[in-house]
Amino acid sequence: MDWFLQQAINGLGLGAIYALIALGYTMVYGVLRFINFAHSDVLMLGAFTALYVAPQIEKVAGAESPVGCVMVFVVAAAVCACIGMLIERLAYRPLRNRPKLAVLITAIGVSLLIEYTAQNEKVFGSAPQPFPKLLSDYEINLGNLVVSSNDILTVGVTIVLLVAMWWIVQKTRVGTAMRAVSYNQQAAALMGVPVDKIISFTFGLGSALAAIAGVLYAMKAPGIEPLMGVQPGLRAFVAAVLGGIGNLPGAVLGGFLLGLLETFAGGIPGLSNYRDAIAFGILILILLLKPAGLLGRSTIEKV
């Protein structure tokens, strides 16, 4: 029983990160109907931004201070929001009216470009680098269970950001425009919605979420390297599809489910090597049985 609860706690911590990444995938899919393959690389860039700004901020705010930590998150999110908008402007916008597959391949190309550029010795290099401690990490003992303060932070940040995203999408003018673009891009444009600006904003928002997830992931990971985003990115993508792509609460639900599943599978000897296969197996099953995902609504294709 203790083992079960402990795995559940670890799974929630991991799942929160997947949920954050999945939120970004889902938001971009919601407005543009395409899978942003470069999302996981924006996550990596967020972690590296934090790696480079953390020492500077430490000088100002002092080591391991909460204020400094928040500043690192804000800077990483801002930098990545700009990168995300830049990618959208340069690579995806010219392809807006082309077949979807052309955009998909471009997205793969952007992803490979970021990965290989980052792996170059003159940029980040492919060797893992230690990530600075942003907050002092302590463990809370509850009976036989150990809860890390990092996990609480991750889950808390995820829930706050989910609520914030939900508020932006449902309650603000920008959010109304985002939903309009998602529903019918042409009609939204005719109603005076600045479609390009809205799409750009969505990319910025999604990339900022990826950056925050990247920093949280880096705080847990032993070191960061240019390919660090690939594995969580793939799992988060599975999570987004599992919850119903385009659906915000679905992405968070899918993320937590995937995180729990991964820690439970990892705890069972013999299954841990097949974790990737299990994630993809679930994805395939979901797509075949309920293509709209757990919380998604199925759409009818009109001729």
Partner: protein, 307 residues
């Protein structure tokens, strides 16, 4: 390209392959290796072209089928012993790998080809990765450390012989009355279905045929490199093949062959800039999609346009 005289080209190609393999001991070993790589790339690109280009079903798992064929035929070669010397052994083991790949292709294709567009791409990518993870954890094929000591059976003749057969088989298949269904599915699935084309079956046939030839290419690759590692079959390898098809122009056999040759030779030329090679490669993908989405080698007027 006019395929009315395709049989003539088939015979000519096989004759050239036999002739070339007769002289191959005199070639420089490095160049010989590169040329065999080109032959394997042609098989991979042409077979994927049947799925992605002619039939318009976007598959990102071609490396997985290549892995199945490669591992299976290599495993046969390592377990049969003496009879490996027989002339007929090698093509038979390649075909065995191809048949297994085709069987898996059928299993994958029947459920997943109901999906469209990027969902199909993701599912095929997922299947490719699952195949890689299984190879990584199967002790019989060397698990993560890879399969070593595969006999060197791939010669220039076999590689190009099979390349010629692949190109011929797929070109004639697509140009037959039966094969028109592939193009019909590519152009408009709903219209094709309402004209009596069994779209699911057509897609599965394309998928299985493509997987068969990818399996053969995998076998040739295994007996050429003499070493198989699961990481060599990850999804970046699938992307490589997809890029060949896109660069050549989807559904254009001649262009795809040219692209396969070009993209296999390019890394050899870029050897001096090896640290920038992959950066250039990914930039090439992006620029290609932005500037020439119809493919680099498609100069003829668009025969059919896809909305």
């Amino acid at each position: 390209m006019n395929f009315r005289g395709a049989k003539r080209w088939l015979l000519l190609g096989i004759a050239l392959a036999i002739l070339a393999s007769y002289f191959s001991p005199q070639f420089n070993r490095y160049y010989l290796g590169v040329v065999i790589d080109v032959g394997i790339a042609i098989i991979l690109a042409t077979s994927l072209n049947l799925i992605n280009g002619h039939t318009g079903q976007f598959s990102l798992g071609h490396a997985g089928f290549m892995a199945i064929g490669g591992y299976f035929s290599a495993w046969i070669s390592l377990s049969v012993g003496e009879s490996i010397q027989a002339f007929w052994y090698f093509p038979l083991s390649l075909c065995a790998g191809g048949v297994l790949a085709a069987a898996v292709g059928w299993l994958v294709g029947v459920p997943s080809l109901r999906l469209r567009g990027d969902y199909l791409a993701i599912v095929t990518l997922g299947f490719g990765e699952i195949i890689r993870v299984i190879a990584q954890n199967t002790e019989a094929v060397g698990a993560a450390s890879g399969l070593k000591g595969i006999p060197k059976l791939t010669t220039l003749g076999w590689a190009f012989g099979f390349a010629v057969i692949t190109v011929y088989a797929i070109a004639t298949l697509v140009n037959s009355t039966y094969g028109r269904a592939f193009i019909a599915v590519h152009d408009d699935e709903i219209a094709a279905a309402s004209h009596g084309v069994n779209t699911t079956r057509t897609k599965v046939v394309a998928f299985v045929t493509g997987a068969f030839f990818a399996g053969i290419a995998g076998g040739l690759y295994a007996h050429h490199k003499q070493f198989l590692s699961p990481t060599g079959f990850d999804w970046v390898k699938s992307i490589d093949i997809v890029v060949m098809v896109i660069l050549g122009g989807m559904g254009r056999t001649g262009g795809v062959i040219a692209a396969a040759i070009l993209l296999t030779l390019m890394p050899e030329f870029l050897r001096e800039f090896s640290e920038y090679r992959m950066i250039i490669y990914s930039l090439l993908i992006i620029l290609l999609m932005l500037l020439r989405p119809e493919g680099l080698f498609s100069f003829k007027t668009q025969r059919r346009s896809k909305s």
